[in-house]
Subunit: 292 residues, 2 copies
């Protein structure tokens, strides 16, 4: 099925580049679209892309093409709007952006001859760019699909075949539920990490002792603060209500923790600490085995 | 120098067991002290300890011995108090507990024929016990020493030789400064991680979607929530003022972040996100190269 399909990857960075690396042997061909000339050269020189262009306007998009939109969210929406003018016979479109409601709403508004589905692979790194892309980035990771009114059974099959080629694990959930869940599981954690990095930087204030003392715990907790600003900007602007809701809830939870530590009640503290450890074990069991 | 010294490790778990594994070939001998019978058996059967006892009272402690206290903080203080009765000719003592002020104050009160120094290796895992110990746990990690009034030049030399044998990197800082720095770099991050785990567990509420959607970002941010409750209890009880101070500061920083996300000012958001990424890069450079 995939060998009938030409892949056009818009945004040939960490996510788009890694996807192309992994599925290239199974596709009819791969076209890279990226504004950055060095990335386009690397895409060609690595043999991952057959051709590379600066804009989607330069590509002769046809109905058999699967266009993968792998840029920050605002650029995905912009490209979707440009496609309506460009691909007069339509095409298949899937995005891999971090929030889904705004994108899927735009997909719903595409002319009826387009096939479109939202996607969100739950993988990434705290670095970005084609140079750090790798064929195993999606391996064994969760890949969310969010259907739209433009999702045909054929496109769904193609999307599932692509996910299978990536060796990723598909989950299908509606766009709204997606955005609420990732606000908790991804966007809130980013903001907590970035806030911690800010606090540590303010206290370090140019001296290095804080950093030398820091160890693996701080490394884990600060890792997300290195995420791409352009990606996070669009995430926070397109998923604001859900993010704010999770932040407010976290503030309430944290206020209770401050009170508990301040009280210094040994038994209450131990009960809470043991409950957290048990919750962590439960989460790990589900991730490791697929069941609790 | 170390081959004159017999090591008595009280608490033969992840930290104590890993230390013994790494330095055993260089010492005159290794004695394990652990309340858990299975741990004592494993210590002997693995060949890491020459003998194992349930309590320090059963060991014939002498002035040439280096007693390493590797239990939670409250048990370290308890053992220090028992040593004053037990080791009538004194001995060398070093602890590797997570907070230093309460312990070093107790060390200051030891009779003058004791030699004592505080220690804190900045490594660990989110699991505990001798079963998960490994000889490379301390490899290339920061190992803090906090001198006391009972720290002799000889003990300091022995401690540095031990740290060299672990292939760890020593830093010497006063106990108070240690406790304030780790409140920021270790205890606050634990509480943030545990609070996130609590929030996610409450929202998941028995269903698995949240966990299936979760990926490496959540894994990093929730890892510390699996830390040993007994260890964290003593940390939070013995470093309460510094932890509260960091929590209150974090609450203020987070309130400003909530306001910024709520405002949705694109330029302000981008400036903040870029600053966080730059701070993360700066921190990584210091960790990787030792300088910025």
């Amino acid at each position: 099925m995939l060998d009938d399909v030409r892949l056009i990857v818009v945004g040939f960075g960490l996510m788009g580049g890694s996807l192309a690396r992994a599925v290239r042997p199974k596709m009819r061909g791969v076209i890279a679209v990226d504004a950055d000339a060095a990335t386009r050269n690397a895409a060609i020189e690595s043999g991952i892309a057959d051709a590379a262009f600066a804009t989607i306007e330069e590509v002769n998009v046809s109905a058999d093409d699967l266009v993968i939109l792998a840029t920050p969210v605002s650029a995905i929406i912009d490209t979707l709007n440009r496609l309506t003018v460009l691909a007069t016979e339509g095409c298949m479109v899937m995005d891999i952006g971090s929030t889904k409601w705004d994108i899927c709403r735009t997909m719903n508004g595409l002319p009826g001859w387009f096939q479109a589905i939202g996607g969100h692979p739950m993988c990434g790194k705290e670095t970005s760019g084609f140079a750090v892309s790798s064929a195993d980035l999606y391996d064994n990771q969760t890949f969310i699909l969010t259907p739209t009114v433009r999702t045909t059974p054929y496109l769904k099959e193609v999307a599932l075949a692509l996910i299978a080629a990536l060796n990723a694990n598909p989950i299908i959930i509606p766009p709204k539920e997606h955005d609420q869940t990732v606000a908790l599981i991804s966007h809130l954690p980013y903001l907590l990490s970035a806030t911690l990095m800010q606090q540590a930087s303010n206290i370090a204030n140019g001296t290095d002792t804080v950093w030398h003392v820091s160890a693996s715990g701080f490394r884990s907790m600060s890792r997300l603060s290195g995420s791409s600003p352009a990606m996070m900007r669009d995430i926070l602007l397109t998923n604001r209500p859900a993010v704010i809701s999770q932040l407010l809830r976290y503030q309430r939870e944290l206020a209770a923790v401050v009170e508990m530590v301040n009280d210094g009640d040994r038994d209450a503290l131990v009960a809470w600490l043991e409950e957290k450890q048990a919750q962590h074990t439960h989460y790990q069991q589900i991730k490791n085995n697929g069941t609790a």
